[in-house]
């Protein structure tokens, strides 16, 4: 068994700094022939290769290098994760955000789900904005960019649609301005446990497996990868898996009967087309593979049909989402579950951390979200946010939308920061203080 020696460890660190902030470093030295020979990449951070023992594949036991220590670690750079990181950082704690791809926004950007639903409730004549705070700040900033958003307003009749590239840019800018430590291209694979308490995570990158130690971890993976690894109870779901795409050069005017040209985007002539897709287990890699391949085929088949329609010959496929449209996989078993019946009865939660706009099955009612839906029943130092929070079979169709993800993200970030500052666990955070902090961050709590 090979232990990580000091030299290997330094090498690993060197490699990571190359990966994380490395462009400047690489550019500092002159490059010849398009590349430069550097200190060799080895398998040291993996502790050596896996090996066979009685026909079974065995991973070597070894010490995992610690990449970073942080106060709050947010896993997943989708809507919930970005808002959580911003909220935690603004509350004054060191915050690290790990994202598996190279951009922020998750399904909102890489998934091309461009409409921000349920930010408002109907009011007298005009709609009333429910989703305020950091989420609305992001939307406002996107809207201030040229071709950033359409239909964004305080009380307008429509939900805002944003441009994915503008959104990616704005999210990254805001994170960098606040000083959030960003780790991209890194896939969190496991939790570090100390009894029932989470102490950090392991993640895989090109440099192998490394650890990030954190006082509080926020699971914004959407699939609940972290709380599942930590042993928290969760409920598995099967839901439709779609693949969204954008069309370019689409003529203005109503689409002919039977032709689905999707919704408008901030770019003239470009429309985004949603896809429902088949139901499947989003945690099964073969299902995801099939959905990806079948979805692309279906998109090209539908495009052919569009291009055969007179007047639409020049429509082209602009892009297909780089992330599958996973709607639900795991939801947390929280100390409180968001239930349809409770919401329809407008149950008052003493620990409300956000109020979302309405959605068709909510019959024009707003949706208060309790803090308990973010808190695992048993595991400590861990909060859920985004799509995987505790919600029943119906309400997960609400919590998975962008605007509710903003709310649960901000609440998780603020609560995690409070827990660090008060030296307590998220479970024992003073709810009144949390609500106070959320209000100072602009959140609307009803």
């Amino acid at each position: 068994m090979k232990h990580l020696n000091r030299r290997d460890f330094i090498r690993a660190l060197g490699l990571t700094s190359l990966a994380a902030g490395g462009m400047g470093r690489v550019l500092a030295d002159p490059i010849h022939e398009g590349s430069q020979v550097v200190d060799g990449i080895t398998a040291s951070a993996r502790g050596g290769a896996a090996f066979l023992e009685d026909g079974k594949v065995i991973q070597p036991r070894r010490e995992v290098p610690v990449f970073r220590d942080t106060d709050v670690l947010v896993v997943g750079g989708g809507t919930a994760g970005v808002v959580a990181a911003l909220a935690a950082r603004r509350a004054g704690v060191n915050t690290t955000l790990v994202e598996r791809y190279g951009c922020f926004g998750g399904l909102w950007t890489a998934g091309l789900v461009l409409i921000v639903l349920c930010t408002h409730v109907p009011g007298e004549g005009k709609r009333k904005k429910m989703v305020q705070g950091i989420g609305d700040e992001i939307l406002a900033r996107i809207n201030s960019q040229k071709h950033g958003a359409i239909d964004y307003s305080a009380d307008g009749p429509h939900d805002a649609t944003t441009d994915p590239e503008v959104t990616k840019y704005v999210l990254a800018r805001m994170l960098r301005e606040e000083g959030v430590d960003i780790v991209l291209h890194s896939w969190v694979t496991n939790a570090i446990m100390d009894g029932d308490a989470v102490r950090g995570v392991l993640f895989e990158s090109k440099a192998g497996c490394m650890a990030i130690r954190a006082k509080v971890v926020i699971d914004a993976t959407g699939d609940g990868d972290v709380f599942d690894a930590a042993g928290a109870e969760s409920i598995p779901h099967v839901h439709r898996i779609g693949l969204v795409h954008r069309l370019g050069n689409v003529p203005v005017g109503p689409a002919p009967e039977g032709l689905n040209l999707g919704g408008a985007t901030p770019i003239p002539g470009v429309r985004w087309v949603n896809m429902q897709g088949p139901q499947g287990d989003c945690l099964d890699v073969q299902t995801l593979t099939n959905c990806e391949l079948d979805g692309r085929d279906a998109i090209w088949n539908k495009l052919k049909q569009i291009q055969e329609t007179p007047g639409y010959e020049n429509v082209f496929l602009l892009d297909v989402a780089s992330q599958l449209g996973v709607r639900a996989s795991r939801t947390l078993v929280g100390t409180q579950e968001l239930r349809l019946q409770d919401t329809l009865e407008q149950k008052a939660y003493p620990d409300v951390i956000g109020v979302g706009g309405t959605y068709p099955f909510l019959k024009n009612l707003p949706c208060p979200i309790p803090y308990g839906s973010l808190v695992p029943v048993r595991v400590d130092n861990l909060l859920a946010s985004g799509r995987c929070v505790a919600a029943d079979n119906t309400m997960l169709n609400y919590t998975r939308l962008i605007a509710p993800c903003m709310l649960t993200g901000q609440a998780a970030g603020a609560a995690a920061a409070l827990a660090v500052q008060e030296n307590c666990t998220p479970r024992t955070v003073d709810v009144a203080k949390l609500q106070g902090l959320l209000r100072t961050q602009g959140a609307y709590l009803g």
Binding site: P236, N260, K302, N397
Partner: protein, 421 residues
């Protein structure tokens, strides 16, 4: 007070009881009181619905009483009779002899009872007690159309009584006529038993002839009406309603169901497919649906037109079948929506994915859907409607289609329902 008709005390007490029932007691009290008090209503409803419920506890003693005491109900209990007599006393000198007016009440009563035998109690809703309670009940809630209709019917009776004092009671009222017929029958029976000289009396023959033609005519008419084509339901009725042809006659339009419905989905039918179904309760799911926590309409129906079902039986009872129009459904145009499937209390709406077109669509499981209407109001593009059931409990035209879909359900259910782990 000399102005008051005889035996006013008893009848005023009845009036007060009904008024109190209408104002303060839950509508269910009238379910027991109304057919219990009116022998005409009780006999016809019991025969037509083929069911004798708890109201019989009140009805049978009343029936026994009116058999022995000719027009006992009129004399001691009838609140309408009392009002008619008060009206009559405003015209003390008027002629109250109507010997030459045919006994219309007898014919109405006989036709209705005969009809009830063939399940259609033809003129049940002219029962004066039904008119009275329909008009008086629910004074504490906003006026409803059936209430106004009953009040109008009662007003007609009273105006008639001012113009022709006591004509209603003596010649028109089917409730009074029922009592007379019962008493006649009893007299005939008593004479038979006592072995008195059996020379056929002219009045007995007349009665027998009237009974033969009245009962027979009623039976024939209602038997023909029941078998007539086109009687399949074209209206949604409250859960537990009897078949539509019977419903139109068994329902006395008292409005109890309309008033007792907490979701206010029961409405008097103002645009009926035929005039006989005017103001019969029908359902509208525009704003709400038939709650799974409620069985009030049947519990409050005085005649059994809507069966008094237990909550479990009511929830299993099929009102209709939800239909989702394919064009307009948001899911079919790839928009995020599952409002109908989410709200369905019986999980009868499921998603179906077509690998050929690569699109999803929501379907209704015809075996599970009860037509409660929960999906109608939540559908954002409003493309869901509930189709009334046909004669044999199957939904209208494309029942086969739904059965075919239902067969495909199990596989989808396994996929769409989450397992707790």
């Amino acid at each position: 007070m000399t102005f008051l008709p005889p035996r006013s005390g008893c009848r005023l007490a009845m009036l007060a009881f009904l008024a109190a029932g209408a104002l303060f007691l839950p509508p269910v009290v009238l379910r027991y009181a109304l057919p219990g008090l009116s022998p005409f209503l009780f006999v016809c409803a019991a025969v037509a619905a083929r069911r004798v419920g708890l109201p019989a506890l009140l009805s049978l003693p009343m029936l026994a009483f009116v058999v022995r005491r000719r027009r006992g109900f009129c004399h001691y209990f009838c609140p309408v009779g009392w009002l008619v007599e008060v009206c009559a006393r405003t015209r003390a000198s008027a002629n109250c002899e109507y010997g030459r007016v045919p006994p219309i009440g007898h014919w109405v009563a006989l036709l209705t009872i005969g009809g009830a035998v063939a399940t259609l109690p033809l003129f049940l809703l002219v029962d004066p007690l039904a008119l009275f309670t329909g008009a008086a009940c629910g004074a504490h809630v906003p006026l409803s159309i059936p209430q106004l209709a009953c009040a109008a019917g009662l007003a007609v009776v009273l105006v008639l009584s001012v113009a022709f004092p006591l004509l209603w009671c003596k010649r028109l009222c089917p409730l009074g006529a029922t009592q007379e017929l019962l008493a006649e029958l009893n007299g005939l029976f008593a004479r038979r038993v006592s072995g008195a000289p059996s020379a056929a009396r002219e009045s007995d023959l007349r009665l027998a002839r009237r009974a033969f033609f009245g009962l027979g005519g009623g039976m024939a008419v209602s038997a023909l009406a029941v078998r007539a084509p086109g009687v399949a339901a074209s209206r949604l009725r409250p859960p537990g309603a009897v078949d539509d042809a019977r419903f139109a006659t068994l329902c006395v339009r008292c409005g109890n169901c309309v008033r007792s419905c907490p979701s206010r989905i029961i409405r008097p039918d103002v645009q009926p497919p035929s005039l006989t179904k005017l103001l019969a309760p029908t359902l509208s799911f525009e704003a709400n649906y038939c709650l799974e926590t409620c069985n009030a309409c049947g519990q409050n129906c005085p005649t059994g037109a809507i069966a008094a079902l237990s909550l479990g039986a009511k929830n299993a009872c099929r009102i209709g079948l939800a239909r989702i129009a394919e064009t307009g459904c948001l899911l079919a145009v790839e928009k995020e929506c599952s409002a109908c499937a989410a709200i369905c209390p019986r999980s009868a709406i499921f998603e179906e994915f077509s690998p050929e077109t690569y699109t999803a669509m929501v379907r209704v499981d015809a075996q599970t859907c009860t037509g409660c209407g929960a999906c109608v109001a939540v559908c954002p593009p409003r493309v869901i409607s509930v189709a009334p059931l046909g004669l044999h409990g199957h939904a209208g035209e494309s029942g086969d289609e739904d059965a075919r879909l239902a067969d495909r359900r199990p596989g989808m259910a396994a996929l769409s329902e989450p397992t707790t782990g």
